[in-house]
Symmetry: C2
Subunit: 274 residues, 2 copies
């Protein structure tokens, strides 16, 4: 079982920033990545629809015999993680708890900003957890729906991205901010722009890194670290346009990628109980 | 049969600008609208995936006993219209032919601009038809992937939309343009911005209007116009988040909307033959 792969899913490309972090601290692990590119983006869709999609994605990864699943998408975590962990008999790791734990020691007395998709912000999960852990700090959630299409269009370090960030953050740029939590796996690619418009001592937090650390701790605790000594194997599956995924995905992953396989989710169709 | 509804589908909201045009010239017709909001947007996805989605959407509308179907989405027309008209025994009207026909009398000697999603532009269907009809004019296709999320974010008349348009059209703003064809049903909402940045005598063409005229001609020719004399009935169905659809949709439709019904497409699942 310890030689089995880590499974990762996201609506599309963003989760590759999490995979990058996992590869860095767990360079011997095999990884199966699934990007649900036929149905992306998840950020503006309803919780019920995201739950349905997430169930199908987990079923697909389980079918590949993975030993652990990472929901590398804050939107899917906010809408579906609790349901997923209740419904499947496999460790399923999300982005939210590790990111909030990671804030300890980094918070002073000023505000904590949470930047995410509309669904993530509406769910309130980050805000509730941060308020529990840091009741003396003000938590400010901001939905930034255009950040994902801007990143996917390749406008990371571009005046349009800067103008959009200044629009979304107009009020918050007037006050002191301790940390800005980038609560969507696409957003770390906007770090240069965000670091430019925030004050220098505002810390940008990429939840991919804390998630990767949590995965490493859990695999060690469960004695599931891969000890085969072989070169790791990386497999990529998508529900649409494998060529485009490979082309754009390499930017997110910051390394080359083998061929990507197109799959149909129809055999994993799931209807959530109301 | 003449009292049956006109069926319209789109990936989401954009097709409502076409429905608005149809309501205007056919005020007595009943209309069933389906927005595939769970899987929007279509614009950046593969032709195969859009074909699969379009088949499912047509099956859903046919199940409602419609007399004619309008594919109110240039992306779906470019990827799937030919296949749909070959596969179903019901009149299916697209956006492309009526829009190109409508250009006659409006073209002088300068360039014709086609603005669309990445999939529409990649397909080349608008360009090929325009080149056939207007071989002496230069046709310039421009993919504008951020226009759809900008419109859905409500940034119609906003500096970010203007900066984005100036970025996509940088080269074309230096030359003479006869007409700019807004080959995506979201784009008419950006007309104020586009008219501002183009020269005054550049004509913006909204294919929704020509599509509506074509629908009216076809219904008349087939003697299918609704002569019941009753108030028309409008029904709206979506695959995700009916409340959000109603809220945003009323802006696109430019009138109030009855309650929107959520449906599951799982019973219409379609696998395209390779």
């Amino acid at each position: 079982m310890s030689n089995a792969s880590i499974g990762i899913f996201d609506s599309g490309f963003g989760g590759l920033t999490v995979m990058r972090a996992i590869k860095k601290i767990l360079p011997k692990e095999n990884i199966v990545y699934f990007g649900d590119t036929a149905r992306l983006p998840y950020g503006d869709k309803s919780a019920e629809t995201i739950q349905k999609f997430s169930f199908e994605n987990v079923k697909f990864l389980k079918n590949h015999g993975v030993k652990l699943i990472v929901v590398a998408c804050s939107t899917a975590c906010s809408a579906a993680l609790e349901l997923l962990t209740e419904s499947f008999d496999i460790p399923i790791i999300g982005m939210i708890d590790p990111a909030v734990d990671y804030l300890h020691g980094k918070i002073k007395e000023d505000a904590i900003l949470v930047l995410g998709t509309r669904r993530t912000i509406l769910s309130g999960v980050y805000q509730r957890k941060i308020d529990q852990e840091f009741p003396k700090n003000e938590t400010i959630p901001i939905a930034c729906p255009l950040f994902v299409p801007l990143v996917e269009e390749g406008f990371f370090d571009h005046p349009i991205a800067e103008l959009t960030a200044r629009e979304y953050l107009a009020e918050q740029l007037k006050i002191k901010i301790d940390v800005a939590l980038l609560a969507c796996t696409h957003y770390p690619l906007l770090s240069p722009i965000l670091q430019k418009i925030f004050e220098k001592d505002t810390l940008l937090i990429d939840p991919g890194e804390s998630c990767a650390k949590h995965v490493a701790q859990l695999l060690k605790k469960k004695d599931l670290l891969n000890r085969s000594g072989r070169e790791p194997n990386y497999q990529f599956f998508v529900s649409d346009d494998p060529e485009k995924f490979k082309k754009i995905g390499q930017i997110f992953l910051n390394s080359s990628m083998p061929d990507v396989e197109l799959i149909s989710l129809s055999e994993y169709t799931h209807t959530c109980q109301k």
